[in-house]
């Protein structure tokens, strides 16, 4: 009967049984279990997920998970990163068995990310800049605005509401157009691009509108080129670009493993 668990940080390419000198979550001893030219970076644990109500400890766990993925990337090149709290029920033998059964698929995914990394691109704009663009491009709104300005104080209430509603709709349409444009431009310079849904943004961007948030898989040789494209986007006016990375390819690894 199997009683233990193996916490998996990542799957890597390796030509030999190279070890990793690092500690994992809760100071666990991290080891590399290889099968031919691939390996799983793991630590032995109880067969239950890590849970805590201690926020500091939770934060440390997540940072440690990331640290182990980073160190594996340095040792073995781009890895297949696992989500936090991925635990295989079993022991070393179970992990190797799992690697064997899914070898072809894991190998193919590893080849797909070799020499590449994930980068984040977030484009923000000031609400006022978009409103200005809407005013310039929408005669309907300009007319409403002019009519409202001519009215005596107080009488323009209904117009004001109408104007605000129209403005809201147009701003949202304008953002969609901008987002699509940026997505296409950036997509031409990266290998794969994915639009992030419900993304968190740093506090310093709290007063801006997020136009689009993208995760991009970029070949090592193309990072400079992407930087130039992002400079051009920012110089085109009215937007701020946040360019982050390199990250392990969290958004570009899809494992459909069999038992």
């Amino acid at each position: 009967m199997v009683e233990g668990g193996m916490y998996v940080y990542s799957v890597v390419s390796t030509e030999s049984d190279v070890g990793m000198e690092t500690t994992g979550i809760g100071d666990a001893c991290v080891c590399v279990l290889s099968l031919g030219d691939i390996a799983a970076v793991v630590h032995q644990c109880a067969p239950v997920p890590y849970t805590t109500e201690n926020e500091q400890m939770a934060g440390e766990w997540v940072l440690t998970h990331h640290k182990v993925i980073e160190e594996a990337t340095r040792s073995f090149g781009t890895v297949l990163p696992m989500r936090f709290n991925t635990i295989i029920k079993g022991d070393e033998h179970t992990v190797r068995q799992w690697l064997r059964k899914n070898y072809e698929m894991l190998k193919k995914e590893l080849e797909g990310v070799r020499g590449r990394a994930e980068f984040g691109v977030q484009i923000f704009c000031d609400e006022s800049t978009v409103e200005q663009r809407v005013l310039e491009n929408s005669p309907e709104i300009s007319v409403l605005k002019q009519q409202m300005e001519k009215m005596p104080k107080g009488a323009g209430y209904l117009y004001e509401r109408k104007l605000s509603q129209h403005m809201k709709e147009h701003v949202s349409q304008e953002l969609e157009v901008l987002s699509k444009g940026f997505c296409e431009t950036i997509g031409e310079h990266v290998e794969r691009v994915k639009v992030d849904e419900n993304v968190r943004v740093p506090d310093e961007y709290g007063d801006k509108r997020l136009v689009v948030s993208l995760s991009c898989l970029v070949h090592d040789d193309d990072i400079g080129k992407l930087g130039v494209v992002l400079d051009e986007i920012e110089e085109s006016g009215g937007v701020s670009v946040r360019f982050t990375g390199p990250w392990a390819p969290f958004n570009f690894v899809h494992l459909e493993c069999g038992e």
Partner: protein, 48 residues
């Protein structure tokens, strides 16, 4: 411009908790964690 990882904890959180390879096998007993963990992790990192 060059990519940066300063002030990128929010990005880390999005990736580690919501993305990353998801295994669909019987040997996997937990994926993605318990909601309580997710919440407390987010709160912990937001205040760091």
């Amino acid at each position: 411009m060059k990519p940066t990882r300063d002030d990128a904890l929010v990005d880390l959180l999005d990736r580690l908790l919501d993305k990353g390879a998801l295994l669909t096998v019987d040997v996997i007993i937990s994926v993605g964690g318990v909601p309580l963990i997710g919440l407390s992790l987010k709160a912990a990192l937001a205040s760091m």
